[in-house]
Every structure is written in structure tokens, then in C-alpha cells.
């Protein structure tokens, strides 16, 4: 169980999140929806330990994660696919993937994870010695996801994975989220593409200006007139 309880995050005096509580378990795909500036990225970055919270907690199976140094969070099984991919552009694809597993020690396990990633994205195997910064947007997104999977996560936090991708690749991306979920990994996905996201998620939360506006199952969100008007233009 991954939980966020009464989380508030500020940038200086500017409020980014106020009293957010969400919960998910490893068998779920959970969507976080909302307009630009609603605080979605802040939420996942705080959960990944790279932004400090002002108050509230992020709990993994009941244990608070903020007590850990930020570089220890990934070792607990939470990996981030950040907005804008944020690869190590000057390193090769293979080196990016290996660094994804930096928190692991067992070489044979790292090799097996790498094989899993190459099976998922055969093109990355062909490009393994190419600098990540020279790949196309879609391939870079594959590296970002592959790098996160290399951390052997129990929960994968994906921030705008379809942003900036060609429409044909966006379809692949949503298929991929389903496949990752089928590997037994809980997926928290932040998306602007609400229609596609609501096809694949189990539940969702809607943020508005840093607060929680709405939450519910996929069906409840699809049935909500607020969601339909604001995000689905129906």
C-alpha cells in the first residue's frame, strides 16, 4: 500500500499542494488528473522523494518515506518516470539503464532486469551504445520507463508519459502502461490525455489548484459531469 496523507507542499510561500490524501495498492493503475499547475507533478515528485513536503506523510506499507535521504527512496521500491524524461543525455542507453538499477547490488538480477527491458523495447537493445540524448522522443520515453523498471519498483510513478509524443506512439505508451501493470507493478500515472487515461486506469484523483477536487473509480469519474465537461469536452 502506497499512501499519501494530508500532504502539503510549498515552493517558498507559494502553495503547490494542500492536504492531499491518496492511496493505491500494487494491483492498481491510478490516474492523477488535472489542469496545468494543479500540482500533479509536485505530487509525484514529492512521493519520489525529490521535493520535500511541508507537512503530511508519504507512507509505504505504513512506513514513512520522508525520514529517508532522498537517494534511498528508490531502494524501497518507488521509481519515477519524470516529466520531460530527464535522461542522462550524455550517457549511453545501456548506461542509463544500468544507473536505473544503481540501488540494487545483485549483478545477475540487474542483468535479468536489463533483459526484461530489452524484451519490452527491442529497439533499445539495437541502440544500447548510442547516447540517450540523440534518440527520438518516443525512444527517449522508452529509456525513461526502462530506467525506472531497472530499479525493480513495486510502484511506478509516471509523470506525463505521453507528453510530446507523436499520436501513433501515444497509443503504444498507453498499451505499455497496461503491460507494466500486468508485471505486478502498481502504476500512478499523471496525464493530460484524460480520455485515454480513463480507458486504462482503475481509479483516479482530480486535482484543482493544489487541492483534491474529486476521486473515484474509473466508472465514477467517467460518469461525473464535472470530469466530462472539464476534461472530456462532452
Amino acid at each position: 500500500m502506497l499512501e499519501v496523507t494530508d500532504l502539503s507542499v510549498y515552493y517558498g510561500e507559494a502553495r503547490a499542494l494542500e492536504d492531499i490524501s491518496i492511496t493505491m495498492d500494487q494491483g492498481e493503475v491510478v490516474a492523477v488528473l488535472g489542469a496545468n499547475g494543479a500540482g500533479k507533478s509536485t505530487l509525484v515528485n514529492t512521493m519520489a522523494g525529490i521535493i520535500p513536503a511541508r507537512s503530511g506523510q508519504v507512507l509505504l506499507d505504513g512506513a514513512p518515506l520522508q525520514r529517508l535521504a532522498s537517494h534511498k527512496v528508490v531502494g524501497e521500491g518507488i521509481a519515477l518516470v519524470p516529466e520531460g524524461r530527464m535522461l542522462f543525455n550524455q550517457l549511453t542507453v545501456a548506461q542509463n539503464l544500468k544507473l536505473g538499477a544503481y540501488s540494487l547490488d545483485d549483478r545477475s538480477e540487474i542483468g535479468a532486469l536489463q533483459q526484461t527491458v530489452y524484451d519490452l523495447f527491442p529497439i533499445l537493445h539495437d541502440r544500447r551504445d548510442q547516447k540517450a540524448g540523440t534518440l527520438s522522443g518516443g525512444q527517449q520515453q522508452m529509456v525513461a520507463i526502462g530506467r525506472a523498471l531497472m530499479a525493480r519498483p513495486r510502484y511506478l510513478l509516471m509523470d506525463e508519459p505521453s507528453l510530446g509524443l507523436a499520436p501513433i506512439i501515444v497509443d503504444d505508451m498507453f498499451d505499455l502502461i497496461v503491460r507494466v501493470h500486468e508485471m505486478g507493478i502498481g502504476v500512478l500515472v499523471v496525464e493530460q490525455n484524460v480520455a485515454r487515461t480513463l480507458e486504462i486506469c482503475d481509479r483516479g484523483y482530480v486535482l484543482e489548484q493544489g487541492t483534491l477536487a474529486l476521486s473515484g473509480t474509473r466508472e465514477e469519474l467517467l460518469g461525473s459531469s464535472a470530469v466530462r465537461e472539464a476534461y472530456l469536452a462532452m
Binding site: A48, G49, I50, A69, S70, H71, K72, V73, V74, G75, A79, L80, P82, M86, L87, F88, N89, Q90, L91, Q95, K98, L99, G100, Y102, S103, R147, A151
Partner: protein, 293 residues
Amino acid sequence: MQQWIQALITGLLLGGLYATLSLGFSLTWGLLRTINFAHFGFALLASYVTYELSTVHGFDPLLTLVATVPIGVALSLGLQWFVSKVKLDMFGTLVATFGLLLVLEAAISRYWLQDLRRIPTENNPWLSNVLSVGPYTMPVVQILGLVAAVALCGFSWWLLQRSRAGYAIRASVENPTMARAFGIDATRLGYLIAAISGVSVAIAGSMIGILYALSPASALIWVPVTLAVVLLGGLANPVGVAISATALALAESFTRQFADPSLAQLVALGILVIVLLFKPSGLFRPTVEVSER
């Protein structure tokens, strides 16, 4: 012909010293974003410790590395600790370390005074220990220095380009936040780089103590050539450091042999200015390209 080959040998050996002295400066600038002018103070202190231990206590000058290397490492680690605690930006490190250099110079001139110091010949077997091959001569201690330079630059290259720690260091220079998100503890890796810098600056300093006369002001003599090596060689690029150091030392050696010896010190700066005019990024690429913030 004989003069040419001797100048070539002398230059190659001098290149070893330049590379050893420049490597740490280049690594800390390129990877830790610390422009460490105190580096020259660390080298000077190592030189004086070598002088003191061999002159006053009768140690073999080369054996003084047992003392100078730990001192160099401790000073480099201490500086890295300070820089990361105080969170200095790159310009801040330049100012702070320049201040530290002045402090070290003042401390040295208080203890060893302003006089020119040199290990007496009877305490310094290495000055006369020369390997002769036909008509050519090579000081053995400089051959050892060249071996040390190759080992240090080679190890640094391997570390950065071939080891997991090296990927991690490069990743955390390029994108510190994401590196942390994937479990990379940049602080610990920073100490590793600082330690390598400390080892090489101590070896360079002891070599200088064995080969040259010392005065508290002599730290500054090494600044131009080091800056030239570092800027031409690409920041934190150990291979670039080795090649630039050799090239500049050769140019200096030939100038000394065939032109005016008093110009030799200016050669490095002259080459630096000319290269930067035509190729402002230097001759080699930095190990990590960082967009200046």
C-alpha cells in the same frame, strides 16, 4: 639531432609532472564544480613537507610520499566537505579557495620563512640518480613521475568511462536531481574524486620539492601552465589532460633548448591564447558538458 631527442625526452618527462599537477584541478573543476586555487597551496605544502622530512629528518625524499599523500588527501577531502556544507557556487569556490591559497602561503612563509629552500644534495640522491641511454640522460625520479602520471590519468579515465561509479558521477553532474532519484549519493562520489585529486597533488608537490628550489611565492609559478593544460584538455578529461600536458611541456622544452630559455614559461600561455582564439572550447571535450547556470 642529439639535441632534438634530448629536448624531446626532457619535455616528455616534464609533461608527466604537468599532468600529475593538473589532473586534480581538472577533475574537481569538471565534476565537483570547484575551481580550486588552493590546489597550488596543497602542492606547495607537500613540497615543503618533502623538503622538511628529507633535510631535517634525513628521510629519502621519495619516501616522504608516505606523509604527503595522506596530507593531500585530507586537505582535498576537507575542502570538498566545506564546499558541499556551505553550498558554494562555482564562483564562490574560486574566491574561497584563492583565499585558502593565500592562507597556506602565509602559514608556509611563517614556518619556513621567505628564504629559498632546497633539499641539500647530500640528502637528495634523486638529483644525481640519472639513467643514461647512449648520450641521453633521464632523471630516474622523473621517470617514476611519468609512470605515476600515466597511472593516475589512466585510472581516472577507467573510473569515469568504464566503471559504474563513473557513470554515476557523470550522471549526477549532468542531472543531480534525477541521479538522486535513482539512488546515487553524489556526496560520497564527490569524496572519491576529491581523494584522487589529493593523491595526485601530493605526488606532484613532492616531485616539485625534489626537483626545484622552493619559496612561499613559488606556488603561483604553476598556475599558468596548469590552467593551460586544464582548459585545453577538456574539463575532467584525463586523456585530454595527459596529452595537453605533454604537448605544452614539449613546446616548453624545445623553446628552452633552441630559443630563449626565459621565454619557456610563457609558451604555455601563448599556446593557450592562440588555441582559444581559434577553438574556444579547447582541444578536447569535457567529460560532462554542463550548461552554465
